[in-house]
Symmetry: C2
Subunit: 407 residues, 2 copies
């Protein structure tokens, strides 16, 4: 008998029919003799609808009331799935974050889990009942609701798996597993049987939407065995492991891309101490995260400063930058929304400088201009124009020997 | 400075624009120097949608998970209205039932409020902040969510007004107040300036949808000053009072109707002790409420037994009655969904037998057959065929001198 945490995301629980299907999956695991804890997201589309309401009323900042509104979607799904399980003759009940409680920090819309007492859930399991936990939600010590950021239900699942010392955490989604690239853009992309935590973390951070990056980080820290699979098919999915066997030619595990970001260039920034700290401090205080910061060459004591941020943060960032412009005295703020970021990820990269070289050479061959570069130990990311994204993805996928071999 | 509880129902909070309008109403009261506590329902349509989900998964009985799903709608509205108030520069925060907590009994979907500790809300008011309480919800002592039945937010508002010793409880809705009959069916219906608790309770119990009957009962018990008015107009509404000045010709205060009920006739029920107790006990155990029970004349030791119940309970009631048929041995269960119940309500009725006489005579003049009769101290109700309902309403409205005088 194993102890499993099963997490089901938005499209897996999109409607009553899908919920009944999910209930069958849960039943199968329970009947195989496993102890099962379920975590659910909101039904597909619901969170977007709730976000549109709060944005209409309060576009400029995030308050604790955002979390009150947004967390309601998971409450609905947890109750409905518990009903669906009961209908199949299983004992089940829903758990909301405040009932466990899943204690978090106070930062609205991006709270961090601090502690999960397990006595309630252990009790439920001991009674032979299946707890269905509302994902994404948390509660502060003061008893206010919080949420864990987009994709936060993955983090709820992994955190519960760690707290309950589960044997495995299965993340059910609408794709069969982790692919070497987005199969919608790269037809020859292939599914990975295994991937390391580190690679998965980089891919998730760089735009692969299958898992929330924080959930991978948490799984790595607590050595939670993680599996990504589809609730729509019987395919075996991808298992996230600590070490992957290195096979020749697979030093790169995957290519992630994102088109959700915009490039911001501050023109003619004076060369004074503390200016960057000033600008990025102000953005960060407003929960706006800048990335890939590049400073241009100095000319006449001035230089350009470029960085990228989420397009969805632009409306809040621009007024802050215009304020900074007056105070600091740079000449202009230029926004470019037509960019894409492409990231090549692989544990082989550490010792393989040629991977960066292959990346740059491949893009050059396709006459694609690289606007920005950043890298980590196992990743190289570049910003290019949005219109070149597809071509770049396919070319890189082939260049790194990731293409599916025709049988 | 007065202390007010303001409650806003479904259409008043149907969308972001309406929420902003409600925020303006709240602001006006706050700026007049009043201490304000707000109670909100779910946005119009949401509860019906949630009900359709739970019914699809669990049509046959009500479980605690129903309450988990249904109570989410009020959570959304409370968060959104708090945001709208903050946007107008007011201090405000949402309160969910479990945060106060509003402690209730455990009966799913029709929990009764047991206790409301006021320290949290008093604290909030002392800080000059406006609490926006999610209506309809409660929490059991074991920490599970409950709901108070359809229209339960009215009861939340009145219970809070009682607990907080508020000077008044204003129920904002989509009509201008309490009318002598439904203005959509009786064009000459007129708005009442005042109505007594007892009359309001009877009207609400008998189909007037403006207020939940339990909220009126609670207001009467705790002497909460209650006002019903529209969030869509500036009209002054109807005040619910203890005693109404009796004006000649207004012994009847209003006529309510409902078409949500079905008539059930059990044919050939044997004359044995305990049979009625058996049948109605079984319905009541399943939270099905039978009303207007009529026993026909005995013939050969058998008689017919007729009663009405909510059409929405039929699916659950019929299997129970078929079971009873086998056990008890009556011949048949006949269902008639084409009925309407009309109730004439007035505090004058106690001493005015002629009101019942006028009721019967008016219907006879229109050749409308009365199928069932019941009465309380201040009400006479009749069941007639659904197709006669409009004619009956208009004729009775005129016969009891309720018609609006043309200016």
């Amino acid at each position: 008998m194993a102890r499993l945490v099963l997490k089901f995301g938005g499209t897996s629980v999109a409607n009553v029919m899908r919920l009944e299907h999910v209930a069958e999956i849960v039943k199968k695991e329970a009947e195989a003799g496993h102890q099962v804890v379920v975590v659910v997201s909101a039904m597909a589309g619901i969170t977007n609808e709730l976000v549109s309401y709060v944005n209409a009323l309060c576009p400029s900042k995030v308050t604790p009331e955002h979390d009150v509104v947004l967390s309601s979607g998971e409450q609905v799904t947890s109750g409905l799935l518990a009903l669906a399980l009961q209908r199949l003759g299983l004992k089940s009940r829903s758990y909301l974050s405040w009932q466990i409680p899943i204690l978090t920090s106070t930062s609205s819309s991006q709270a961090k889990i601090l502690e999960i007492p397990t006595n309630q859930l252990e009790c439920c399991l001991k009674e032979g009942s299946i707890p269905v936990v509302a994902g994404f939600q948390g509660m502060t010590k003061e008893g206010r609701l919080t949420t864990l950021g987009r994709g936060g239900s993955d983090t709820t699942a992994v955190a519960l798996a760690a707290a309950l010392k589960a044997d495995r955490c299965d993340i059910y989604t609408d794709v069969n597993g982790i692919y070497t690239a987005d199969p919608r853009l790269v037809p020859r992309a292939k599914k990975l049987k295994t991937i390391t935590y580190a690679e998965m973390f980089e891919l998730a951070s760089q735009g692969a939407k299958v898992l929330q990056a924080r959930s991978v980080e948490l799984a790595m820290k607590h050595k939670v065995k993680l599996r990504v699979l589809s609730s729509f098919s019987e395919s075996e999915g991808t298992t996230v492991v600590e070490e992957r066997d290195k096979v020749e030619g697979t030093l790169v595990s995957g290519i992630a891309h994102t088109q959700n970001e915009a490039k911001v260039t501050l023109m003619g920034v004076p060369d004074q101490v503390g200016i960057a700290a000033n600008i990025f401090g102000c953005l960060s205080e407003n929960q706006i995260c800048a990335d890939m910061i590049v400073q241009g060459c100095m000319q006449d004591g001035k230089s350009d400063l470029a960085f990228i941020l989420q397009k969805s943060d632009l409306d809040r960032a621009v007024p802050l930058l215009e304020d900074a412009k007056k105070k600091i005295g740079f000449t202009d703020v230029v926004i470019d929304k037509e960019i894409a970021k492409i990231s090549v990820v692989g544990i082989g990269m550490r010792s393989n400088l040629e991977i960066a070289t292959t990346l740059f050479k491949t893009l050059a061959e396709k006459s694609i201009n690289i606007q920005m570069i950043s890298s980590s130990e196992i990743r190289v990311s570049v910003v290019i124009s949005l219109k070149s994204m597809s071509v770049a993805l396919e070319a890189l996928h082939a260049a790194f020997n990731l293409d599916e071999k025709k049988a």
